[in-house]
Amino acid sequence: VPIKSFLFALLLGLTSQATAHLLNMTEVRATIDESGDMHIDVKLDMLRANGTPEAYFEFAQTGSAALQDEQYQAMWQKLQQAIEIHQSGNVFHPSLVNITPPIEPLSAFQSSAAWPMTELSLTAKVNPALPMSMKFRSLFPFEEPIAIGMANSFDDRQRNRWVISNQSGPKFTSKLDPAAPAAAEEREDQWGYLLSALWQGVIHVLPLGYDHLLFLLCLYLAVNSWRERIATITLFTIAHCITLGIAAYRVIELSIAWVEVAIAASILVVALGNLIGNARSFSHWSVVFAFGLLHGFGFASAIRALSLPAESFLASLLAFNVGVEIGQIAALTVMVWGLAMWRRRASFPRLSTVANNILMFAGALLLLMQLHGYQHDSDPNGFRFPDQEHNHAHEDMEIGKTADPGRDSLD
């Protein structure tokens, strides 16, 4: 057994590594001082940069003088170009100031169980108060993973993250001064997110929420007194806020296609109710509330597509919701104004019937569209009639009649 173990140990030294890509990973330590001097130490396996173990060994023999050596200038140029520092939308490159190649025998360079590492020192000038990040481009063959560590010499801030080439390193911010530009930029970022979430809320009612608006109009036509109208709309709003939150937090997830179908059906139902004069039963509080819940789920797909930032998820969600309400108020203003003028005219009762008929027809059409569209499209905002794709979908359905049912599910 001992002889066998010995032979095996010998063998181990000659054979492969399970995890070479961890043992020769690139290590980066960047430190920034108060005056903005950034020092970057990189530990790097330069085998691939040199091409062969022999070439890497030859390079190592040059020692620190390799930095000035004519032969390696192109390599250093590439290396500096490949290291990027990102700050305030600018990209700049550090300068190489020193190199320390490994001092090891040729056999170590040729071995697959040793990884001679070259140490590089680079410097750059940055604004210590502003957020910054580093990126290592695939222009130079860095071994992966690249372990980036960034730290300040003046506070205990540090950021560490493994990345691969072309991937952004961690965003590093100093604690210099809460009122410093760094913090202001962060806050700007936050406001930017909130404003964009608010705007998304508005446009998901006007014009993307046309089905939502049709339903609002139905509700509006269903009741006659101001008190009832305000109460109905308020109840409807509360209900859709509840489900919007629930869906955004993924407490309950419904298939968006079927939610859209149900919303179309809700228009049809309330318009029908208005027509057959049974408006009260179809706009009864509990029904309004239930339809409100349904419409909230309708906005959920929009919320998900926004991929709100995790750190300000609730704030962004609220902003989106406020946006939805702004859109709704804008639409209601137009409706109230238009209908108020109209109500004074003698033609109102007749035209109201026509309007309800149109709404019912629109609801029915929308319902058919949604049901039909569900067969071959899943984009909740897509208009599903024209397009070549539509014909293809039908061809597919014909084939589908003979194909296996597995085609219709993702599992």
């Binding site: 492969s16 540090q158 991937q167 909740p380």
Partner: protein, 439 residues
């Protein structure tokens, strides 16, 4: 292997045969086992995938090709890739290798890329979210000079053909299953739409469908079979009676030397305590398969939290995937391990006695079916929480620990979960020799 290949058509290959010493040396431990698996795969017309890391000498490449290992995704050097391709090895090229390998292949006049594919390996969720997945692999291949059509084949047809499933997938042709990507510009891999199972799945990079609902059986979701709640005392190292000082065995991440390190440590009230300030922490492995909650533990150096009452635990522990923990306090280690177990697997970081970050990976304790943004946010939160702490050795989350418990070459002494003849868990994985953790 035989049963898997026979019972499920989706099993097409034996993946990543990593233990080259066992494959190439009939006398090596595990040699018979690995060859039985390879033979069973071939007997069922399966593909045997290789792992040719560090095999770049001509003799080694010849031996690798001769052994019948049919692919390599570990090519680093351009010349190595060329030689392997010339010997019939199917290259699965990672993005890190592309910029050097492809220009050489083209320079050498290679125009037939049918034996080449592009792949990822250990790609972090943040990298995938930022850079992409197969689209990024194809893009890097094109940027490295591969003709556009060939680059797309590397991401589809070539792979299907390599695994002998090109009659099912890999091409848009009658009788094949295909998800379809429509491109604005094939050269920049600019995606316009993706159709998955005949449904519009994305516009650009905006995913529109709900995540496919897969009803994983309980056996897949509930894999943290600890059988009990782990307690602080499970991690306590008790000294032999009457001693004021003991010898302890010491390891560190990626320590391959023939013998473990040793050190003398003081005994306090009959207990040996870690000493994070001098770089000594405690590392434990908790059995998560046998409902025993068996715990092995020992002292390591160069890794772990310095912040008091802290620990990190994870069920990602290549390749056995028990739960490992590293910490400087027994209660913190118990909390971290129990948090991982309660989630059904994942990562848990405990700082000053409180769970400050967790990643829920409740499919086999390794994966999750939650939305990618949610998982990516959890991962980033863990890195950030770790950056708020002090660590022994390299700063930040010691992510490398997930690979630190491998029991294959070149590892020697390793901590594994306790087993009948080795309740301490310290073992030389090349010889089976065991040793107590203190004496």
């Amino acid at each position: 292997m035989d049963a898997f290949l026979k019972s499920d058509l989706r099993v097409v290959a034996l993946g990543e045969v990593m233990d080259w010493p066992a494959v190439s040396n009939p006398g090596a431990p595990g040699s018979q086992r690995i060859w039985e698996m390879i033979q069973a795969t071939w007997a069922n017309r399966g593909v045997v995938e290789g792992h040719g890391s560090g095999l770049f000498g001509v003799d080694q490449i010849n031996a690798f090709a001769a052994s019948g290992l049919e692919s390599d995704h570990e090519v680093r050097l351009a010349q190595e890739g060329l030689e392997k391709l010339r010997r019939g090895v199917f290259l699965e090229v990672r993005t890190a290798a592309s910029p050097l390998l492809f220009p050489l292949l083209i320079k050498e006049g290679i125009t037939d890329f049918s034996q080449v594919s592009v792949t990822t390996d250990d790609r972090d969720v943040a990298a995938t979210v930022e850079l992409g997945a197969m689209d990024y692999n194809i893009k890097i291949a094109i940027e490295s000079g591969v003709p556009v059509i060939d680059a797309y084949r590397m991401g589809s047809y070539n792979t299907a053909r390599h695994f002998n499933i090109d009659h099912l997938v890999g091409a848009i042709a009658p009788g094949r299953y295909a998800d379809v990507v429509l491109l604005d510009n094939p050269e920049t891999v600019s995606i316009k739409q993706v159709y998955a199972n005949g449904k519009l799945a994305s516009k650009g990079d905006e995913y529109l469908l709900p995540i496919a609902k897969v009803d994983y059986p309980d056996a897949i979701r509930n894999t943290m079979k600890l059988g009990r709640v782990i307690e602080a005392k499970d991690f306590t190292v008790i000294a032999p009676e009457g001693r004021t000082e003991v010898d302890v065995a010491l390891l560190e991440p990626f320590y391959f030397k023939p013998d473990f390190m040793t050190r003398k440590m003081p005994v306090t009230n009959g207990i040996v305590l870690p000493d994070a300030s001098s770089g000594i922490t405690k590392v434990a492995v908790v059995d998560r398969y046998h409902n025993t909650g068996a715990v092995s533990k020992m002292f390591w150096r160069g890794v772990g939290p310095m912040t008091p009452n802290s620990a990190l635990a994870s069920s990602q522990m290549h390749d056995i995937h028990n739960i490992w923990a590293v910490g400087n306090d027994d209660a913190a280690m118990a909390l971290a391990v129990n948090t991982v177990a309660d989630m059904g697997g994942g990562w848990a970081l405990v700082s000053e006695g409180k769970v400050v970050a967790r990643i829920d990976l409740n499919i086999a304790g390794l994966m999750t079916d939650r939305p990618v943004e949610e998982v990516a946010a959890e991962v980033e939160a863990m890195f950030e929480a770790a950056d708020e702490m002090q660590w022994v050795g390299a700063p930040g989350l010691p992510e490398r620990m997930r690979f630190a418990f491998l029991t294959a070459s070149p590892w020697r002494w390793q901590l594994v979960a306790p087993y009948e003849s080795n309740p301490g868990g310290l073992v030389d994985v090349t010889s089976g020799e065991t040793h107590p953790i203190i004496w």
